[in-house]
């Protein structure tokens, strides 16, 4: 959805209108969307917390998590927040080539994280944790899978934005478009910090 929310940027900001809140329409909409997303992840996290100890078949969480591996991929994702900040800052300085570079790096770091998740899911599946194995497995894959889809959508947005900037097709405030995707990206990272803590670090 988030990519849709960015579409009106050219229109909403480039004519120098002031809004009642001081936030542009796009940014306000993005904040509301992220507020709504909090409740979405809230529901999924609650479901996981309810079911994480309920294992009738297959492996138990403590038997399967590889905390060092996930810590590394979490670190990669957190670093992508840093590069995202650098992309936003370059965009605000109207430095197109730097912006494109940081967007690319952010996208690649995100893709690395998603790749790590695919690897993790494959390993878990080989060890006998299918999507339908137990309450724990269904809620684990749903929660982390939903997060993975969010990261993937973010990667698609980052890389498409880069292409669009390169072709010079953004008619409005470029920096704001980058910032909007940045908001989304940081949100997805923050959610991961919560998921990583609750799912991997706290023993069930």
């Amino acid at each position: 959805m988030a990519d849709i929310a960015t579409h009106d940027t050219d229109h909403a900001t480039d004519h120098g209108h002031h809004s009642s809140t001081g936030l542009s329409n796009n940014k306000l909409a993005m904040w509301l969307f992220l507020g709504s997303e909090c409740l979405l992840f809230g529901g999924l996290i609650s479901t996981y917390m309810l079911y994480r100890g309920r294992v009738q078949n297959g492996p138990h969480p403590s038997q399967i998590y590889d905390v060092p591996f996930t810590s590394v991929s979490s670190f990669v994702l957190l670093m992508s927040s840093l590069t995202m900040v650098l992309a936003v800052s370059s965009a605000q300085r109207k430095d197109d080539s730097k912006t494109n570079l940081w967007l690319l790096i952010t996208g690649l770091l995100g893709a690395t994280f998603v790749g790590g998740q695919v690897y993790e899911f494959t390993t878990f599946y080989r060890e006998g944790l299918g999507f339908t194995t137990s309450l724990f497995s269904s809620s684990f894959y749903s929660l982390t899978g939903f997060h993975g889809v969010h990261v993937s959508v973010g990667v698609i947005m980052l890389l498409s934005l880069r292409g669009i900037i390169k072709k010079g097709k953004i008619t409005g405030d470029k920096a704001e478009v980058v910032e909007l995707i940045g908001l989304y990206w940081h949100f997805v990272d923050i959610v991961w910090i919560i998921i990583f803590t609750l799912v991997y670090l706290i023993p069930s």
């Binding site: 849709i4 929310a5 009106d8 004519h15 009642s20 329409n25 306000l28 979405l40 809230g42 339908t132």
Partner: protein
């Protein structure tokens, strides 16, 4: 200031409409040529005008209202006499499930969205909503969701688990037909529609009010819609989680509601009602907003205690998030939870009571004009109070455990929803019809409509209090003479009364339809300001111009339009008319803005909605269909992002030579 329109002097316009970058003609168009100069049905299909979208919302919602109404009549026919044979047990289950689902998600919410879409920008003095294309997307997604929900009737049977669809009963073991799958997908899509719509309207209200219109000078209708949108933004994601979990279980074998695996049957109930209770206020608050406009207008008095009405509406919304478990008192939550939720639920009666007193005091001492709109508004106050009082009896947990799953509950929520929400919407129809269509609905037919609905409504749902207290369970598809009881409390008698009442109610609605048809054929135009109204939507023609206002009004008062017509005498506090609406309109037209640029029509909202619908169908009919849907979604998302929301000059067939764009709207 609104960010959505661009007002220019002619000398500036050539420079400003150009984008900062030089774009070749093919470059600005995205993937396909933009439908800028559409006429006929295309004009509606690709429109992004909030008024056209509002009308389409209203029409589609009304069709679903008829569908849901016919389903209700089937239910009442089945129960009218002992051993009913109209419906089988299975069809009966589908009937009441779809009746509830249709009325809530496909009639009440979109009809409120129709009013919100049409009147919210007009009431705050804006030219459109913040995201016109997203607005169109909301509408088309709602249509997709509604069609998917109802397609189930023809594709193997509709959902049959009740509108709350409790899992594990709705899981694959107990509900093997595809009905629940259609239901789950239809509601997810309708949910995305509402979410997008709510974000759009919040941004519109917060960012695009006319100069001078502070939040506390906003009309109450706009306020209530704002509260509703916040409720939607924070409650829809929760039901989305529930729907996704159920979909994963039904379509992909997940275990969330599989009790044999140790699943908790209360999980669904919590997720559903965390959404479901705010949803109740999502349904009723627009009605409250509408009558808060109608009552002052027809009492010739300002709304009594405007800030109290606003803040009690907001606090109803806020507390509404903390009362969901009162739907679950019979599920064994434990005494602490029950006590807390019981208290919270009773607390909601306070702001609601405040509102009712405010409405009564608005009418007190006013010169009341008993138009049909006013009658419906008074009807709401009376019927909602009855429904609210029976609601308080549910808040008392010990009494609620006796009432749970009886017709007493059915009586309660139909009093608040039919008597409250629906009467509010009908009040809105009569009040705003001349604004939207430029013609007055017939008052005589309107009286038939009102009185038949009022009598029918009470005949239908009044006896259900008695039936419920006698213990007739909800969702009971058949009853027998032998167990109907004796005398006053005879089930048979009251069931028959209720069924007769439902047909009286239906005839009342039929009078509305006749009224609409008759009005459409009547050539007589409505006056500009037939009700001597108070708010900004009347400061334009009827129907409003494409760009809404000749110039953006500057607001100085609550009820700005009224204060432009009347001045108050300092000492006697009497109001003297200084201008008519016609005078005001002449002044506005004389000082009209020029060069108003409006967002252009677009293919993408419709195409994206179709893509989402196909994607959803793929969950039921297989991955290849899903892939097709995903590709359509991806393609239209990119087309959307690459298309500027205001058309470029080159989007028009022949760019005019003097550098001006051809206006979609004629200049004011």
């Amino acid at each position: 200031m609104s960010t959505n329109e661009l007002t220019l002097t002619p000398s500036q316009s050539p420079g400003l409409v150009k984008s900062p970058l030089s774009i070749s003609p093919s470059g600005s168009l995205g993937a396909v040529r933009r439908p800028v100069n559409t006429t006929g049905w295309r004009e509606w299909l690709f429109t992004v005008d909030h008024k056209k979208i509002g009308i389409m919302y209203g029409c589609v919602a009304f069709v679903f209202f008829i569908v849901g109404g016919v389903e209700a009549l089937f239910i009442r026919l089945q129960l009218a006499l002992p051993d009913g044979r109209i419906l089988s047990a299975d069809k009966y289950n589908q009937m009441f499930t779809m009746h509830g689902t249709t009325m809530i998600f496909l009639f009440a919410m979109p009809m409120a969205a129709a009013f919100a879409n049409y009147f919210l920008p007009l009431q705050i003095g804006a030219r459109d909503v913040a995201f016109p294309r997203l607005n169109a997307l909301s509408f088309w997604l709602f249509v997709s969701g509604g069609l998917i929900l109802n397609a189930s009737w023809f594709l193997g049977g509709a959902a049959d688990g009740g509108w709350f669809m409790y899992a594990p009963n709705s899981g694959p073991v107990f509900s093997p037909s595809n009905g629940v799958d259609f239901w789950v997908l239809g509601l997810q899509i309708a949910g995305i529609a509402s979410l997008i719509g709510s974000i759009n309207l919040i941004v519109t209200v917060l960012n695009m009010r006319a100069p001078g219109m502070t939040l506390m000078k906003m009309p109450v209708f706009t306020w209530m819609i704002l509260v509703v949108q916040f409720l939607l933004v924070f409650s829809l994601p929760v039901i989305t989680v529930a729907l996704v979990l159920l979909m994963f279980q039904r379509s992909y074998g997940a275990t969330f509601f599989d009790v044999s695996q140790g699943a908790d049957p209360l999980l669904w109930q919590h997720l559903f009602w965390i959404f479901g209770h705010p949803e109740v206020y999502v349904l009723i608050l627009p009605g409250f907003g509408i009558i808060s406009e109608v009552l002052p207008t027809f009492s010739r008095k300002p709304l009594f205690g405007y800030p109290f009405v606003v803040f009690s509406g907001a606090s109803i919304g806020l507390v509404g998030f903390g009362v969901w478990a009162h739907h679950m008192f019979a599920s064994g939550l434990g005494p602490v939870s029950v006590a807390v939720f019981s208290m919270a639920t009773m607390a909601i009666a306070i702001p609601t009571g405040v509102k009712i007193f405010n409405w009564i005091l608005t009418m007190w001492g006013g010169k009341i004009w008993y138009s049909v709109a006013m009658k419906f508004a008074i009807g709401l106050v009376v019927l909602f109070t009855i429904g609210g009082l029976s609601g308080v009896t549910h808040a008392v947990a010990p009494s609620d455990t006796q009432q749970t799953d009886t017709y007493y509950i059915v009586a309660h929520f139909h009093y608040v929803l039919v008597g409250g929400m629906m009467f509010g919407l009908f009040s809105g129809f009569y009040y705003w019809w001349p604004k939207v269509f430029g013609k007055m609905l017939n008052e005589k037919l309107g009286n038939w409509n009102f009185w038949l609905m009022l009598i029918g409504m009470n005949l239908t749902f009044g006896p259900m209090h008695i039936l419920g207290l006698q213990g007739q369970p909800r969702r009971m598809y058949i009853w027998t003479e032998a167990r109907a009881g004796e005398g006053f409390f005879n089930f048979g008698f009251w069931n028959l009364v209720s069924s007769i009442g439902s047909f009286v109610l239906a005839v009342g609605v039929l009078f509305f339809i006749i009224n609409v048809i008759k009005t459409a054929r009547n050539p007589e135009r409505a006056p500009l300001d037939p009700w001597d109204a108070r708010t900004l939507e009347w400061l334009t023609t009827s129907p409003p111009k494409v760009y809404n206002f000749d110039r953006i009004p500057v607001v100085h008062h609550l009820d700005e339009f009224f204060h432009r017509k009347y001045v108050e005498d300092e000492t006697t506090h009497t109001m003297t008319q200084i201008a008519t609406c016609e005078d005001l309109m002449r002044a506005e037209e004389a000082a009209a803005d020029t060069g108003i640029h409006l967002p252009g029509p677009s293919y993408w909202p419709l195409l994206l909605a179709i893509g989402v619908a196909v994607l959803g169908m793929g969950v039921i009919y297989g991955t290849p269909i899903m892939v097709v849907g995903a590709l359509v979604v991806l393609f239209s998302s990119f087309g959307w992002v690459l298309e500027p929301s205001v058309p470029e000059p080159i989007d028009f067939d022949s760019p005019s030579t003097d550098g001006h764009t051809k206006e979609i709207a004629p200049l004011g």
